[in-house]
């Protein structure tokens, strides 16, 4: 069975870069005639030789990029069940809104009276995010989740510094996303891993022995990176608070719990939200996103500036007046157009719709997990997964020698984008699957059938999986060679063009 290749099976006919299409004198640009006297750049500052940009007609540019787009797979192509990434379908209405000239053509440093609509949007979105997460105030400035993490850690540092001792370590579960320890170091802290139990949850006894007055805080996501709800969360946050630490909520998995429970009610002090995941901004091949950070009341003084404030007359302004603020995480106000999309998503769905989003996300994940469990059992079968789950290809690998990556590549030939593989690192042959709420039962059944077919082929015809993919413009690529013989620009390859 082949469902049809998700991407064009052939490379572009010219099989080269834009530089290969370049012909002297060709051009796409047009500008108005100069209507003032020409000004000369003083000689000592002038560019001597023009930059080696390609010279192409607009037609060349369009066909080139169109062909390249046909070699790419997006959520609009089909199910994209990358665990930890929440690749849900993105409603087009948000694109319409973000393109309104009143948003798109707005300069970030306009006087506040000329940007009241934008400021009100930010204010309302901040209130909504605080309600969803149970926080007091939030900054919408961080341009991505990892930037939100660092913002939270700098707030943590500012809080402890104000109390006389910044402390030195931050605790992070061993299953956590790599951005957590990387952000921790950038926040000036040492990351110390917290072990998990065999059930895939935080080892609370171990955590209790690790807490002391050198621990600035604990970073956690709940449901955790294995897709499991930390049932002892109240005990965990209490342990950290008793030692004077703060608890940080990584919002990567907020999609599972909206309207059901809130990080603030669990005892978290700082929360970041990946609006591009939970609130459906198209991921654009790897961004842009947005990583707003909410905090409890006592941490509000440390939030970045500027902040949107509202006076009693309902007038909005950007305020820089916050002497204890950590400062600024972005050149302007963050990824505003992404925040417009988040606003559109939140208020389009409303209180009832957001709750349903989480319910369907959890239902879909559980349904898919059970549909493939025979071939790919859950890594932690004792606990019910929430919006995503981690299965393992380890039994299949022991039986057939076929690895998780081979299964992933075979899925590509069967017409599907694979799940995340080999993450989290603590699970052998991990396959981390997040179908999201926007996939239909038919799509889940189709994906499960493809996985079962791949497992059957692993037993009967394993070479099919080792050789996959064979239907894509390129087959498995030599990553070791890419890192050894660096070709990072067309200048590194004189044969091209």
């Amino acid at each position: 069975m082949r469902r049809g290749a998700p991407v064009r099976g052939q490379g572009p006919p010219e099989d080269g870069t834009l530089r290969a299409l370049s012909r002297p004198g060709r051009s796409a640009w047009s500008f108005p005639e100069l209507d003032v006297e020409a000004a000369e750049i003083p000689d000592r500052y002038r560019r001597a030789r023009p930059p080696g940009l390609p010279e192409v007609a607009e037609r060349d540019l369009v066909r080139h990029v169109t062909r390249l787009s046909q070699m790419n797979y997006g959520v609009d192509t089909g199910i994209y069940p990358l665990g930890s990434c929440s690749m849900k379908y993105n409603p087009k209405l948000a694109e319409t809104a973000a393109a309104f000239p009143g948003f798109a053509d707005l300069h970030p440093l306009q006087p506040d009276p000329t940007s009241q609509g934008a400021l009100e949007l930010l204010w309302r979105l901040e209130r909504a995010l605080c309600e969803i997460t149970g926080m007091a105030r939030a900054t919408l400035q961080p341009p991505a989740g990892a930037s939100g993490e660092l913002t939270g850690l700098l707030i943590m540092r500012a809080h402890h510094t104000a109390n006389g001792n910044p402390r030195r370590t931050v605790l992070i579960p061993d299953s956590a996303h790599g951005t957590n320890p990387a952000s921790t170091r950038l926040g000036g802290y040492r990351a110390v891993p917290v072990p998990s139990t065999l059930r895939g949850l935080v080892d609370v006894d171990a955590l209790a022995t690790m807490m002391n007055d050198d621990v600035a805080g604990l970073m956690l996501t709940n449901p955790n990176t294995l897709g499991l709800f930390e049932e002892d969360i109240e005990h965990i946050t209490d342990l950290v608070h008793r030692a004077g630490g703060l608890v940080y909520y990584d919002g990567a998995n907020l999609n599972a719990i909206m309207g059901r429970t809130r990080p603030g009610d669990m005892g978290f002090d700082i929360v970041h939200i990946n609006t591009h995941k939970t609130f459906a901004t198209p991921h654009g091949g790897g961004g842009p996103g947005a990583g707003p950070v909410g905090v409890v009341e006592r941490l509000v003084p440390f939030l970045p500036v500027p902040r949107v404030e509202r006076d009693e007359r309902g007038t909005y302004r950007l305020s820089h007046d916050a002497p204890a603020s950590i400062g600024r995480m972005h050149g302007f106000h963050g990824n505003f157009a992404v925040l417009v999309r988040a606003y559109a998503y939140v208020f389009f769905h409303g209180a009832d719709g957001l709750k349903q989003v989480s319910e369907l996300a959890v239902l879909n994940a559980n349904y898919l997990a059970s549909a493939i469990a025979e071939d790919f059992p859950l890594a932690h079968p004792d606990a019910r997964p929430m919006h995503e789950f981690v299965s393992t290809a380890a039994p299949l690998e022991r039986e057939t020698g076929v690895r998780a990556m081979d299964v992933a590549k075979r899925l590509i030939d069967l017409g599907y984008h694979p799940s995340t593989v080999y993450f989290p690192l603590v699970v052998d042959e991990a396959m981390m699957v997040e179908p999201t709420e926007t996939e239909s039962k038919e799509a889940l059944d189709g994906f499960a059938a493809a996985l079962r077919q791949a497992a059957a082929e692993a037993r009967s015809e394993p070479q099919l999986l080792h050789d996959a993919p064979t239907t894509t413009p390129v087959r498995r690529l030599d990553e070791a060679r890419a890192a050894r013989h660096l070709r990072l620009s067309w200048r590194d390859d004189p044969s091209d063009g």
């Binding site: 530089r19 390609p54 990029v65 306009q110 991505a144 660092l150 790599g178 302007f332 157009a337």
Partner: protein
């Protein structure tokens, strides 16, 4: 579906949440609405912002009203690119990967440097990452020239609190003072935040003499007419890439450009695309040097960046392809000429003086007004002009004015006439 997962109700799926934590009320948000209603709501918010013909933009200071050709979003808006994610499965992502490779290639061509990453969040955070690269070798201090955008410096100071440094002013001299063996980097912006052209080479020589790196903040629209950072002695160059393909969007999403000399490639942050071959020997592209990155190296990574600004980089790539070498040079000529004309018109108003007499500039310049700049900007709004960005760090009467290729002689004349009226001159 519930039966298939041994559940009788949706509540069963959430049974592992302790009862004490379950939200026993609806979220305090309005109920969901139709598409028509949400677009009406957003439309009314958008209309409460003044843009376009209602408020002609002469503001810059890091965000610019450049022309974005139709082809950019017609191409970048294609679903296959627009709704994809970080290319973890390269066989399904050759489109995004190759365009990023072309982005890196064109940034190298522009800057005269050897290697580029695939974009960072914005110009300010790109500077932070460049400083982190420079400090990775063990030196600590960071000297920043006076003309560097104050928002960039503020961002640097914020991040510096975590990394353990405080950006220091490089001094008033043309050649920075205090470049000692503990200085990791000297930062200069050219054209600078006042629009002025700087002597980058003098800074580079001073930095290199002390074994420090020179980081230049550049304006990508200037590089058709101004000498590239690589020829001026910069080791790392960073920029706010917004003018290429991206509208102003109230400050984001934009993209941070970062290019460097090849010896720094393994310290470079963010995604990097490399060329390679597949098992059949066919050329293709992958994310490479991943051993630098957080998902492999965790706390030892060069940066915490995961999601970045790929879509904006794709837009910049198409825009650079549309411009080509001659279009970029024409863009620079138009901006510089119109800015020079506006400078002449505004400084001929009684009481309006050049803030830096005799200093050459590119598309932006700074004037001293007879009244506080914020008052003048406010008074220009009802006349339909966003007259510039006040620069309080250079005095309360300082105003930075930016003129892009979109502004016409007629508009500039009208700006000058309105300002003369406002100033009573």
């Amino acid at each position: 579906m519930l039966a298939a997962v041994d559940a009788t109700s949706v509540d069963d799926l959430f049974a592992q949440i302790p009862a004490s934590l379950r939200l026993d009320r609806p979220l305090d948000l309005p109920r969901g609405v139709s598409e028509q209603e949400i677009l009406a709501d957003l439309g009314s918010l958008a209309r409460r912002n003044a843009t376009g013909e209602d408020l002609l933009c002469f503001a810059g200071a890091g965000a610019y009203d450049h022309f974005v050709p139709s082809v950019v979003w017609a191409l970048v808006g294609r679903s296959e690119l627009y709704t994809s994610y970080t290319p973890y499965q390269p066989e399904l992502s050759q489109g995004v990967l190759q365009i990023l490779f072309e982005y890196q290639s064109m940034v190298c061509e522009l800057t005269g440097l050897d290697v580029s990453n695939a974009s960072l969040y914005d110009g300010a955070t790109a500077l932070v990452e460049a400083v982190n690269m420079a400090r990775a070798a063990g030196r600590s201090r960071v000297l920043v020239a006076g003309g560097v955008d104050p928002r960039f410096v503020q961002t640097l100071r914020t991040y510096g609190r975590g990394s353990g440094y405080e950006p220091e002013p490089s001094g008033e001299d043309v050649v920075p003072s205090g470049v000692d063996p503990d200085v990791a980097a000297v930062v200069i912006q050219h054209p600078n935040a006042f629009g002025l052209l700087e002597d980058v080479t003098a800074y580079a020589d001073a930095a290199h003499a002390a074994g420090a790196l020179l980081i230049q903040v550049f304006d990508p629209t200037s590089l058709g007419v101004l000498a590239p950072p690589g020829e001026l002695g910069a080791d790392i160059a960073v920029a706010e890439g917004q003018p290429f393909g991206n509208r102003m969007n109230f400050g984001g999403p934009y993209l941070g450009m970062l290019a460097a000399r090849s010896e720094h490639v393994r310290k470079m942050p963010g995604r990097i695309v490399g060329g390679t071959v597949d098992v059949d020997g066919r050329p293709g592209y992958v994310l490479t040097l991943q051993a630098r990155e957080q998902h492999i190296r965790r706390e030892k990574a060069t940066s915490n960046i995961c999601t970045n600004q790929t879509l904006m980089a794709l837009a910049a790539t198409v825009h650079m392809g549309w411009l080509g070498p001659r279009g970029l040079a024409e863009l620079g000529r138009l901006c510089a000429s119109k800015a020079a004309y506006a400078f002449g018109r505004l400084t001929s108003i009684t009481g309006v003086e050049p803030a830096f007499p005799g200093r050459p500039f590119f598309k932006e310049f700074t004037i001293d007004l007879p009244r506080p700049a914020t008052d003048v900007v406010d008074a220009m709004v009802p006349r339909g002009f966003l007259a510039g960005v006040p620069a309080p760090w250079a005095g309360e009467r300082a105003l930075i004015v930016a003129v892009t290729e979109r502004r016409t002689r007629t508009q500039i004349d009208a700006l000058a006439a309105a300002m003369a009226e406002v100033l009573g001159a």
